[in-house]
């Protein structure tokens, strides 16, 4: 069963056809996913206060109902180290189409993965796991399964990735927390079953995985029209 707060967020997002990032992050946080510390600023003062609380470096992202692909309009700035850059970024974002705020979030490092879902006409919610980042559609190193998934399915999906070795520890790099990743995949597949009447597709991209945890750094929820 979906929490009331999740339902409310989805209800208010219907007018845009998709869920704005801060709201999407809220949904995943409510459903038990690890998300970075973040808040949304409109003014300079707000921005500096939020960044102060989180602590530099931070990442800044445009919040606008008109901008689904943030990178395409340079709407994501990572590694901001001081107030000056933060303010400059906010001023630039304000000029972008449909600006409603700037999301400021803690910088999270790790191996970039994508966990996604598509509500397929014939098969219902399909879950995707792959190597994330902007190159996802170029390398297409992904695995797909029909939801809901069990841990064993998550195992198989990880095993299907060409880049599996990058997850299990390659050339002295620590392996990521596989259990956290599998839990995230299984939990995500359950959420997609709960949302199947409402949601068209979802990207968690990237999910940053480290030896400790998997954190949903960016998320996008497209609603059914």
């Amino acid at each position: 069963m979906l929490k009331k707060e999740i339902k409310e967020i989805i209800e208010k997002s219907k007018k845009w056809g998709w869920v704005l990032e801060p709201d999407a992050q809220e949904i995943f946080s409510l459903y038990g996913f690890k998300t970075p510390k973040y808040d949304v600023a409109i003014s300079h003062d707000q921005a500096m206060t939020i960044a102060g609380k989180i602590g530099y470096p931070v990442v800044a992202k445009i919040v606008s109902p008109a901008i689904v692909h943030k990178s395409d309009v340079k709407g994501v700035v990572v590694g901001i180290k001081d107030d000056q850059t933060l303010i400059q970024t906010l001023d630039r974002f304000r000029k972008l189409d449909g600006f409603v705020g700037m999301l400021i979030a803690e910088m999270v490092k790790g191996l970039e993965l994508i966990i996604g879902a598509k509500n397929d006409l014939q098969f219902g919610p399909m879950i995707l796991l792959g190597m994330g980042g902007v190159g996802v559609e170029i390398y297409k190193d992904v695995s797909l399964r029909m939801a809901p998934l069990k841990k064993r399915d998550a195992d198989h999906m990880i095993h299907e990735l060409v880049a599996e070795k990058l997850l299990t520890g390659y050339r002295g790099v620590e392996p990521i927390n596989m259990n956290a990743l599998k839990k995230a995949i299984v939990n995500f597949s359950r959420l997609m079953m709960d949302l199947q009447d409402i949601v068209e597709s979802v990207d968690l991209n990237p999910v940053m995985c480290t030896a400790k945890a998997c954190t949903v750094v960016d998320s996008r929820i497209m609603l059914k029209s």
Binding site: I114, G116, D120, Q122, M126, G130, K140, L144, S201
Partner: protein, 455 residues
């Protein structure tokens, strides 16, 4: 809902008979069943009259017997009323051959039929289909009998959304020695769909392998089907077309773009223990091998050949198919060697593939097959058999078949397929060893066994 009357009718009405045109689909269907199959066939047309010396009944209700299967081949706009007549006359099933429904902009007619059938629990197949062909039972295909190629009766049931693809595969099955249990053309699949047939066929004693040609599922129906197929005690094979249609649709998320319609299809079927055949060759090969062997393999292939080139081609194909061709251990190699004729020992290459050379005779093949049959290093043997090697006899098939049975291990043979070698090929096939006409095909068969997982 009982589908048995559809496949094993004792009485059949063909509705839409013409009294003047012998090439009318209904007339073709009447003629090919009447006095040829163990089914009593009645002709129906509202105008009545005679078809040659047979009575044409004005309505199905006028037929003196209860009808198991009504074959409806009238104009589309008449079909709903004809179906109502069938239900009223307590007919048990129907095959609607007529076209011109959803595919011709008359979805309303189809909707009427479906709601009628749902209410009366009246199973009907089609519309816009060929219906059913069951060897020695019934044949509702409107193709003149002299033009049909019929495979031997056997274990494969093929369900197809396209009648043409179905008939083509009957030809391929006949060519490749694949036995057919039922051929079912489902056309618009308005009421009886893939899933209902799966439920029936998993219990059907003549069906050992269930194969589908699918263009697409209805909304949510793919999910229901794969979930049902996951627990099928019989292997389920799917060949899909329309894999690229969604390719250029604008999509707004990475996942929607990567998880295109076909990618989702392929993932969902593979996840649920369904074997996807990429093309016709795979389909025929998979059907043949899975009707011979039911036990899955891990994929450790032993190759026995009379030619080094064939062996190398087979190894490449195995590697592409994800199958292993393990090097034989020293003791196994020695055992093979000790059992070969003396003149072969010095010239044969006894790793894997085991190349027995063009000087080998039946007994060398059998000796090598026995060692591979007994060895745990190998779980499936592919024999590349060249009938033009002078030492090979027509008995090689039955000899190798008995080795396969002795060790309960699947053997697959490649034999070039020309009429001259038919008897040699039948020596394998009639004794239960599937034969492919290409090296790649033989490897595909092994691949199917490796893909099949126990439920």
């Amino acid at each position: 809902m009982d589908l048995k009357p559809l496949f094993e009718p004792k009485t059949m009405a063909v509705i839409g008979i013409s009294s003047s045109n012998d090439r009318h689909p209904a007339n073709v269907i009447f003629a090919k069943n009447h006095l040829r199959y163990p089914v009593e066939v009645y002709a129906v047309n509202p105008k009545g009259g005679k078809l040659h010396s047979e009575t044409i009944y004005p309505c199905i209700a006028d037929i003196p017997k209860k009808i198991d299967l009504a074959v409806i081949a009238t104009r589309a706009e008449l079909v709903p009323d004809v179906m109502a007549d069938c239900i009223k006359a307590s007919a048990k099933s129907a095959a609607v051959i007529s076209g011109g429904f959803t595919e011709g902009g008359r979805g309303d007619l189809q909707d009427r039929m479906v709601s009628m059938a749902q209410e009366a629990k009246f199973p009907f197949i089609g519309p816009n289909c060929l219906g059913v062909y069951v060897p020695f039972r019934v044949d509702t295909f409107f193709l003149p009998i002299e033009r049909m190629i019929k495979p031997d009766a056997g274990g494969v049931t093929f369900v197809s959304q396209s009648g043409g693809i179905l008939v083509d595969h009957m030809i391929k099955f006949a060519q490749q020695g694949v036995g057919l249990a039922k051929a079912i053309s489902i056309g618009n699949k308005a009421f009886i769909k893939e899933k209902e047939l799966l439920a029936y066929l998993t219990k059907d004693p003549t069906t050992k392998v269930i194969a589908y040609y699918i263009e697409g599922f209805g909304v949510g129906e793919g999910r229901d089907f794969v979930l049902a197929a996951d627990c099928s005690p019989k292997p389920v094979i799917i060949m899909k077309s329309g894999k690229t249609a969604a390719g250029n649709r604008a999509v707004s998320s990475h996942t929607a773009s990567l998880a295109g319609d076909y990618a989702s299809f392929a993932a969902a079927v593979a996840q649920h223990n369904i074997i996807e055949a990429a093309n016709e060759n795979e389909l025929v090969s998979f059907c043949e091998v899975l009707s011979s062997y039911t036990k899955p393999i891990e994929g450790k292939i032993g190759i026995i050949t009379g030619s080094g080139g064939h062996g190398a081609m087979a190894v490449d194909a195995c590697s592409l198919a994800g199958l292993k061709v393990p090097e034989l251990s020293e003791p196994t190699k020695t055992e093979v060697k000790n059992n070969l004729a003396e003149n072969i020992r010095s010239i044969a290459s006894l790793s894997n593939p085991a190349d027995l050379t063009g000087s080998a005779i039946d007994e060398d093949f059998v000796a090598c097959a026995k060692v591979m049959g007994a060895s745990a290093e190998i779980d499936c043997v592919i024999v590349l058999l060249l009938p033009y090697i002078p030492g090979i006899t027509l008995d090689i098939g039955v000899k190798l078949s008995s080795v396969s049975k002795q060790f309960n291990k699947p053997f697959i043979a490649y034999v070039p397929q020309v009429e001259k070698y038919t008897m040699l090929i039948e020596g394998f096939e009639l004794n239960g060893i599937p034969v492919s006409s290409s090296i790649e095909g033989a490897v595909l068969m092994a691949k199917a066994l490796a893909r099949k997982k126990p439920c």
